[in-house]
Symmetry: C2
Subunit: 438 residues, 2 copies
């Protein structure tokens, strides 16, 4: 069983080891198994039957209320009223593909691009982050005439055929595709930036020798599935400069860190003082209404469009654009980037305080409201089983988090950006109680 | 310039040949060019600035009203009130990824699968038809251990890297990928079914000889971008039987013909009396709210899910499922399949009547509300320029249609399924006027 398999299994419901779910939940699990079962794993040993949500809270069929520290898609809050109103108004007014002129679509494109540094001046809308990364790979192969990519060892960039190839965490137990090299995530002690750049250089050389050539370095700028790597800010710069020096593209996958989550501007790459060639967007972009995008220089998107006549039927449609515009309004008008920085810092402080009380809490990493906590056993070794016990223990205390990392031992905490300090207090107290319960 | 390039160019706005657009439209075109320009071609010599829509009508910024015979996505009508209400209610109640139990998602999966013959008993939700076809290709390669696919010469199956490879119409002027064989669409005189099956056999043999092997036959069951092939019903059966005999999968791409459009049941493959191994869904599934899906036997989806740990963040989310459930309700309660058959028949009759009056109108093909009309010149030769004149002439008369076919000379007519006979009368009269105007 590989690392990524472990991550899934940790969080996943498994009928074989489930206790008494109650008749209603058991019936719903069975109904699901008979329809969407094969491709739709449930979370937790006791799955949640969710009926509504608001802000940072999920409500279940049995009247329960769960504090959501897991879901980064509804980043301006579950059922955000402004987003809900924008969607309701737009779906009743106009929703169609983008081969015509539309105010809301153009207004959103203007607003979105205004959040990027000037050379990144064009956007192609998609429906998902996977589709965005699928396009990004092609931008790089067309621009460089090469086909090789460097990614991190437990990276996840999406679910299309091409993107699965560059997502080692989706390929449990399988060899990497010939045109892909995986290097360790920049987590650990010492000069992580230097080490990361050296690994990129070696991987690029290997790609050159294999004949594929080095087309691009594709990284999630917060390294979500690798276990979260954030510090020191700037550590990615050396690898980016090296990539450019080798004539390859730096692709910033902002599907997870983007839209203010890191608390230091809108985009994760900004923390590193670098300029990507291509940026990919997804998850929180429409607060759950499907929309993704690729932001790049005009020349890159033009060459691609002419090469394949790209069009995406639902991409950037008026309803998705209206939702996405409302998300930008919420982030800006409610100061959610600053909130992510402030509440995220308070969260990390609380977790580090717990670390002084409990041996099982190791390194606490992150930026803004994307936080990873190493769960460790004797001698600081990764302890995935203890992480699993904590995740399910928190679930029993009505708090939702997940797992990440190559060893599956990293607590993954990425709540809606509207999280407040009082919610952090609830979580830290509950985690403390779980740790005391053992 | 290849055939598919011609199709795009026919419909596309080109600044270089545009006349006076008016200041407002010109400004909007410029704004768009500066943001989503490269990947977002506009339709028509004079693009439409659309502000709202209802039923089969689009409304423009200058107060115009356009009869929409092009858009197959809002198939239960633009801004369908039931869909709009379902979306508004759900987005204000709950919208989140599907790792939990949800009533609306499970209810939709039940209802959707009930429209399929029994062996097709599981669904994987995606966000787009492209993502669905991307999954379908992998189901076939995993199930057969082979990698080769047979498609038609002007096929379009979507926009991911893998799906672009099996979409010859997306690869203008380029050689096909080594694992793909393209055969003529089953359009023409004589025994089209026999000829099509023979071409499949030859392509499969070529794939076997090349070492790729024959993994699957992937066809749009109404052959939309090839120029629409519908008759005689049943002609696909021989190719499907042959495919199964060779141990390969028959993948029915129902993104365009599905959800009742052909007027003969919910799915295009039903007209042919065959049982696909995999069916892919998209476009009209949520009336414009992004949702797609792959319906297949449990064993195929199970092997795939175990192979790549497939998950799609937005796939089948509660808002998309609620929209899709409302679409099924509309189709069933308003009798839209029967309406497609009836109004579609009336439309073809009207077009054939025009064909007796005008030499430029050649073969009229189709099923239900998917209709193709060959525009021909001297001796019946395809005449793409005349088709373009008709399409833009109709646009000037406030009616929207498109172009299709390997020669770009096929009028593509696929209105919302709520079309009525009075709308057909408007269209046929306008087309008659365009033909008389020359």
């Amino acid at each position: 069983m590989t690392a990524s398999r472990k991550i899934l299994a940790l969080n996943a419901f498994e009928a074989s080891r489930a206790g008494d779910l109650g008749a209603e939940t058991a019936a719903e699990v069975e109904r699901r198994k008979r329809t969407i079962g094969p491709t739709s794993v449930l979370f937790y040993e006791k799955p949640l039957h969710v009926v509504s949500a608001e802000g940072v809270w999920l409500h279940t069929a049995d009247g329960g209320r769960f504090l959501d520290l897991y879901n980064n898609v509804p980043s301006v809050g579950h059922c955000n009223p402004r987003v809900a109103r924008a969607v309701a108004d737009q779906v009743a007014t106009l929703n169609i593909h983008t081969r015509y002129l539309f105010d809301v679509v153009h207004a959103y494109a203007d607003r979105l691009l205004a959040t990027f540094p000037a050379p990144l001046d064009r956007v192609a809308f998609t429906c998902t982050g996977s589709e965005a990364n699928d396009v990004a790979l092609r931008l790089a192969t067309i621009a460089t005439g090469r086909s090789g990519f460097v990614v991190t060892e437990a990276a996840y960039h999406g679910n299309t055929s091409a993107v699965s190839d560059v997502s080692p965490s989706s390929r449990p137990g399988k060899a990497l595709a010939a045109h892909v090299r995986a290097i360790p995530a920049p987590i650990g002690k010492g000069d992580v930036g230097r080490r990361f750049a050296e690994n990129v250089r070696a991987a690029a050389e290997s790609l050159e020798q294999s004949g594929h050539g080095f087309a691009g370095l594709l990284v999630d700028t917060i390294f979500s599935s690798d276990g979260i790597a954030a510090d020191p800010p700037g550590f990615l710069r050396e690898a980016a400069d090296l990539t450019h020096g080798l004539g390859a593209l730096f692709i910033a996958d902002e599907v997870q860190p983007g839209f203010g989550r890191t608390g230091a501007g809108m985009w994760g790459f900004e923390r590193h003082g670098l300029l990507p060639d291509v940026v990919t967007l997804g998850k929180p972009m429409g607060n759950g209404i499907p929309i993704g995008g690729v932001v790049a220089r005009e020349d890159l998107l033009k060459d691609f469009a002419e090469s394949v006549g790209y069009f995406n039927t639902f991409g950037g449609n008026p309803v998705s654009s209206a939702a996405a515009l409302a998300v930008l309004d919420e982030i800006e008008q409610r100061g959610l980037v600053a909130n992510a920085a402030s509440v995220g810092g308070y969260l990390r402080d609380g977790l580090r305080e717990l670390g002084r009380l409990h041996e099982a809490i190791g390194d606490v990493r992150g930026a803004g409201l994307y936080v990873g906590v190493d769960v460790v056993g004797a001698g600081g070794a990764p302890d995935a089983q203890a992480a699993s016990r904590l995740i399910n223990g928190l679930r029993d205390r009505n708090i939702l988090i997940g797992a990440a990392g190559g060893f599956g031992n990293v607590l993954k905490i990425r709540p809606p950006l509207v999280l407040e300090r009082r919610h952090v207090d609830i979580f830290v107290d509950a985690l403390d109680a779980c740790l005391r319960a053992g």
